[in-house]
Symmetry: C2
Subunit: 106 residues, 2 copies
DNA sequence: GTCGTGTATCGACGGTCGTCAATCTACGAT
DNA sequence: ATCGTAGATTGACGACCGTCGATACACGAC
């Protein structure tokens, strides 16, 4: 059979793990919902952990776990105020994500 | 202590699994690289499975596995021609993803 | 200091993922 | 029909993920 297919000119390509890391942080329905809840807030507003528990129908431990994933990805920010942790969206990070998407798909 | 934090007015919120599904398909460095390789092609060009094996340094089975994930998410398209499967990017799907991102982050 | 409360972390559980060798399938060539 | 090859699928493995209860931490009230 003809050996027409593979060009063979391409060498090993470094895998893009920055974009994949951001996508991974969003690759869960619960976390997308968390982001949507934060995005729906007005300027200056925020939500603490207990605000998520009932709407998401998840335990406090699980909510905290998801918030940490989003925090590690830089998609949300935390401000500790007294006993409470207040979370807000990092819109600049989403802008960055949009630019990554534009770069991936030319 | 004050019970100032949780508003308590919010009820259960349906989780957005469509966006999460798309993000999940992109939540792997190998698959991001595959997308980038396909995005770098000129109009009318395509790549078959064997084109990915060497650059990604992965077995044929693994490459096929990743391509299937992207195919199921609708991010790439497959055209069978003889023995070969030729893959191309589905740019409309990426446009849809961009709109989803715009909706999530308001 | 002690007590109570909001949050973070730990340990465990079942489920899914990425990977490969091996196998199966589909097609062209002979 | 038989053979060779490109690609898809299967089965297995270790690693990671989402979830929870239990525990640890940090801070305010007292």
């Amino acid at each position: 059979m003809a050996t027409q297919c593979c060009s063979g000119a391409v060498t090993t390509i470094p895998s893009d793990s920055e974009a994949a890391g951001l996508f991974k942080a969003l690759a869960d329905p619960t976390r997308v919902t968390i982001i949507e809840m934060l995005a729906g807030l007005d300027e200056g507003e925020d939500l603490c952990v207990c605000d998520f528990e009932e709407p998401l129908d998840l335990s406090q431990a699980t909510v905290s776990h998801h918030l940490r994933k989003l925090l590690d990805a830089g998609l949300i920010r935390r401000e500790r105020r007294g006993t409470w942790s207040h979370y807000t969206l990092d819109r600049a990070r989403f802008e960055h994500l949009r630019h990554l998407l534009d770069r991936i798909d030319a």
